[in-house]
Subunit: 129 residues, 2 copies
């Protein structure tokens, strides 16, 4: 049986969530940020791949379930306030974003505008067909 | 006058906030996550160093104002959902955490416990004296 003390250490939001930043364990690139509830973090720690909580769908979100782009967990880190997580991951398929890009953070502020600074690696239609 | 269209592109929370992840521009290390409101992001983009919104104090939080550990902005990135920011920063003094550590993410999940995996570089009493 899994020890759940580490879940109690976390300062969950009023909605019972905590933000989780997925970072490529090799390159340090930040891939995405999503949310976890108690169950999803518990499952993530147990099963070794990232399972988030989808706020829009209000259900567990097994990252990569449709696209195959799962995230293997190398390490889970917690911040000083115990209210933010980092997941150090191995990104399967090299694509974290639903737009078919490596990272969700593909826009950069330049001359007062958000400019797209990263190519689409795979057509989303192929990823979710 | 600053163009504010980039502020309108952001999906602010109901409280008018957006999470901002500060990442060391050189090493890729994630230093901290804090929140910004419209004013703090606008000022950050204008002045070139990180200014957050303190939710606990309900006021602008000029990072490093007391400690000297300011964060110079190298780049600001936005994610696909337009609801999370990354600040690529140059961390002055090499310390982002109020505990005197380089990063706020100094705890690692190991054997079902959060274990401290990083030394204190500077006594907080010295930082905030």
């Amino acid at each position: 049986m899994q020890n759940t003390d580490f879940l109690n250490a976390i300062k969950w939001t009023d909605d019972g969530l905590v933000p989780a930043i997925a970072q490529d364990a090799e390159t340090g690139r930040i891939l995405m940020m999503a949310w976890m509830n108690r169950e999803s973090l518990s499952l993530t720690a147990e099963q070794g791949y990232a399972i988030y909580w989808s706020r829009s769908r209000q259900q567990l979100w097994r990252k990569g379930e449709s696209s195959g782009n799962t995230q293997l967990i190398r390490e889970i880190q917690l911040d000083c306030d115990a209210d933010v997580l980092i997941l150090k991951v191995e990104q399967q398929g090299g694509i974290a974003c639903h737009t078919g890009r490596q990272s969700c953070f593909y826009r950069v502020l330049k001359d007062g505008e958000w400019q797209t600074a990263e190519p689409v690696l795979k057509d989303p239609k192929e990823m979710y067909s």
